[in-house]
Symmetry: C2
Subunit: 490 residues, 2 copies
């Protein structure tokens, strides 16, 4: 049925675009690089937001909101930050339009030029630390544990829906601490929250690690990250948590009086995940029939489709369907009963497979007679006939199974696509197969850059749980202390 | 205690600013006209959002997200809209910065000039209707019932926290319908949702009405509104719902095939409320001691403060306090037990009065002995000693009473400040007293403009429930069919 999607095996990238569009998740807008997140896509993002927000609050964070615009000069304050962020960004230079002379259009009013240009935030460290300066005087004002849900803009030249867009939605946590230890602990804690969420809700296994200095956030002393593996063997950075040291506090002169009455400089972290997670979700689980969604994030858990020919059959089928629907709703599931009359059941089946609804129930006159229902699970595409008695418990159990199964499937894929090598030629062959390649590295930015240039692979992370393993660098033969993870990446 | 707030009677405007800052709701940022919404203020806004979002979904709406930027030319498409919105706005002209020649700063890269300037959305009708064009082909695609939570920018010259800021947060609903009747019904339904929310959650009585043509949304055929009265006698528009007719559909060429297979033009509505509601909330209920919050929107419902001298007392008091706290939490209330040791109880009392926590419980050694607790309600500032047995039901009942009381108080204030007159001199005197003045109007824009110029009062609305009452215009002596509501307004 779903032959309107390009097959993964044929063109993975085209499959992805087809799926995002045809499942109604997002589309390109009239504004270059900016996407429209459509209602179905947004309803998944709302589930992501709600769960993350809960986890942030459970770990003591509060939400706040800071300005969309950042004065241009703020970027120059932190030397590394400006290199990373004050480049491709949207610059507001004027604050007024006026009618054109012919009256048929509007033009920018040259008299309404801003004294200092404003940058649409690509990330908010600078404006937030400029604000924190006034919030922090004493050790009693610390820690500050604040998160912001917001839109940000980075003027990307090559964009792809969800994965890389000029405007995207995200959350950015910005915390201030009295000590280095506390800030480091916070950065690591939030990495843990991200890993917990991505693995247990999105059902995506992740590697936890730290970035090499080259790949660090501009202005950070350490960038912790979670890295996921997509079905085409490319890596995707799913979230980052930065230990910022005292860089931003120094740049914006943020000090506090400690318990002993002495002035000290504040320590900082920042951490974020974005609508990019939607791309990771799609590329980890979905198939040629469409989306596969983990039950914990599915906007619709169960769709019920009536099968009938005669009006009398329809009424009996509907009655049973409504009864099952209310049982399932009582268990907390979102159920859609699709009795629309303009499409055949087969078309509906394909449509809900495309949208990744975890479970489909089909019920016809024979089912009514036998007190059964046909249960279809999206992840395995298996059908079973099940008794209607106790269907609510059956479905609850099935949802847990689906959630666990898609995680296990992704984990299996990742372990089948994780390789070790000490040999550069083999390394290149493995990269072509796709996956994570664990290899020794001499720790220099030069070697990292040369490998990137020659193979397009980057060091995704230095895994946190990787044991020390003395070896020699594949390229330079210099000593290496432990393996790092290379991959081509989104 | 709270003598750090300017008194309302002394300078209402300064009282408002003091309160917003000192209660930790919001503050001005480094960017002209843009505010920082602080955690406590944002937590109230989150409650507003959560309830409205629920009500939107219950009435069949879904959320989506559209681009922050709008191509300049889109504004010229709808003749009235461009007059209203393509004026004071933030204009993005460039997409890149580069290092200055001396290397100490960043400058706008003149080579990175956009072909067409982008406007930071002041409202999204144009970009959304440009998108809907592709979503709508047949009557089966209608209605589209979509809402967006977003930030918008209107370059205001004179700004005030929450009431008028260059950037603000809001929701904007944008719906598309097959018929005029359906679109009108939607616009009215959403006005009803707003009135329900503002009266029953924010405890603010509102007048429902329609705007005069002069005061309509730019591009609307009819603007429905809810109008509230602040304590200083000035009106505040709390929400608007627009029947847009076919204006935007025509401007963006959005047509559909009806059931008979004929092409028709789509009908539209849009409706929105913003962080301005925070201003209305503050100026309806609060007093010289600080915020007064309706329990339904209070981030903290109950604060418990221990009173003690000796350590042994402290332990007994804490035990009782924790017991009460868990009882109240089990009832769904948010409870803060403030046992911090750096401030005296009196200071804490003043602080939570400032923050508008609806109920304060104070518990000391004598209370422990008598199995009582001192209950203070913020709205009336009354204290009572209450038995700890059944305290949870007592508090639940009290919350309902507070919610009802502050609404009734505001309603009483409004009726005491609502006047009727047919005489222009008396009209001017009544405006100086402050309030809603119901007066006849000849229905012309000329008279409306003259009254505005001479008295600074505008027609807030033509109330929906106002009976016809033939009369003569105060100013021109021309016939008037019914009274309209005048006031000076925020």
């Amino acid at each position: 049925m779903a032959d309107f999607l390009t097959k993964q095996s044929q063109d993975y990238s085209q499959w992805y675009n087809d799926l995002v569009i045809k499942a109604g998740l997002a589309e390109n807008s009239a504004v270059r690089g900016c996407m429209v997140i459509k209602p179905y896509g947004y309803s998944i993002w709302e589930k992501v937001q709600a769960q993350l927000d809960k986890m942030f609050k459970e770990t003591g964070h509060q939400n706040a909101y800071f300005p969309l615009f950042i004065p241009k000069s703020f970027f120059s304050r932190e030397a590394e930050h400006v290199k990373g962020f004050a480049k491709e960004c949207a610059v507001v230079t004027h604050y007024r339009l006026k009618n054109s002379e012919d009256g048929n259009a509007v033009v920018v009013d040259p008299e309404a030029k801003l004294e200092e240009e404003l940058i649409v935030r690509p990330t908010s460290e600078t404006i937030i630390w400029n604000t924190y300066k006034n919030w922090i005087q004493s050790w009693r004002d610390l820690p500050i544990l604040v998160n912001q849900w917001a839109n940000v803009v980075r003027w990307e030249m090559r964009t792809r829906l969800f994965l890389r867009t000029a405007e995207f939605l995200w959350q950015e946590g910005h915390t201030a601490h009295a000590t280095k230890e506390e800030a480091l602990e916070e950065a690591q804690k939030m990495l843990g929250v991200y890993a917990d969420f991505v693995e247990n809700y999105m059902a995506i296994p992740v590697l936890k690690g730290v970035k090499t200095p080259t790949e660090r956030f501009a202005g950070a002393l350490e960038t912790y990250c979670i890295e996921a593996l997509m079905q085409d063997g490319k890596a995707l950075q799913a979230g980052t948590s930065h230990f910022l040291g005292q860089n931003f506090a120094k740049a914006f002169d943020v000090k506090f009086l400690n318990k002993e009455g002495k002035q000290e400089t504040v320590w900082a972290t920042s951490w974020g995940v974005s609508t990019r997670l939607m791309g990771a979700l799609i590329m980890t689980h979905s198939d040629d029939n469409g989306l596969v969604l983990p039950p914990k994030l599915a906007p619709i858990h169960v769709v019920i489709i009536p099968i009938f020919k005669k009006q009398e059959e329809y009424e009996n089928v509907c009655q049973k369907a409504e009864q099952i629907a209310s049982q399932l709703r009582a268990k907390g599931y979102t159920v859609k009963f699709d009795n629309s009359d303009n499409q055949k059941p087969g078309w509906k089946f394909a449509q809900y497979e495309l949208q990744g609804v975890p479970v489909r129930l089909a019920i016809g006159p024979r089912d009514v007679q036998n007190n059964t229902v046909e249960v279809f699970r999206r992840d395995t595409m298996e059908k079973t006939s099940v008794s209607i008695d106790g269907i609510d418990n059956y479905i609850a159990d099935l949802m847990d199974k689906i959630q666990a199964n898609i995680f296990q499937k992704a984990l299996k894929f990742r372990s089948e696509h994780s390789y070790k090598t000490d040999n550069y030629e083999e390394f290149k062959q493995l990269l072509d197969k796709g996956g994570f390649v664990y290899a020794p590295w001499d720790g220099t930015a030069e070697t990292e850059a040369r490998i990137k240039e020659e193979t397009k692979a980057t060091i995704r992370c230095i895994p946190l749980d990787q044991p020390d393993e003395p070896g020699v660098d594949m390229l330079t033969g210099k000593p290496s202390t432990k393996r790092v993870v290379f991959a081509r990446a989104y």
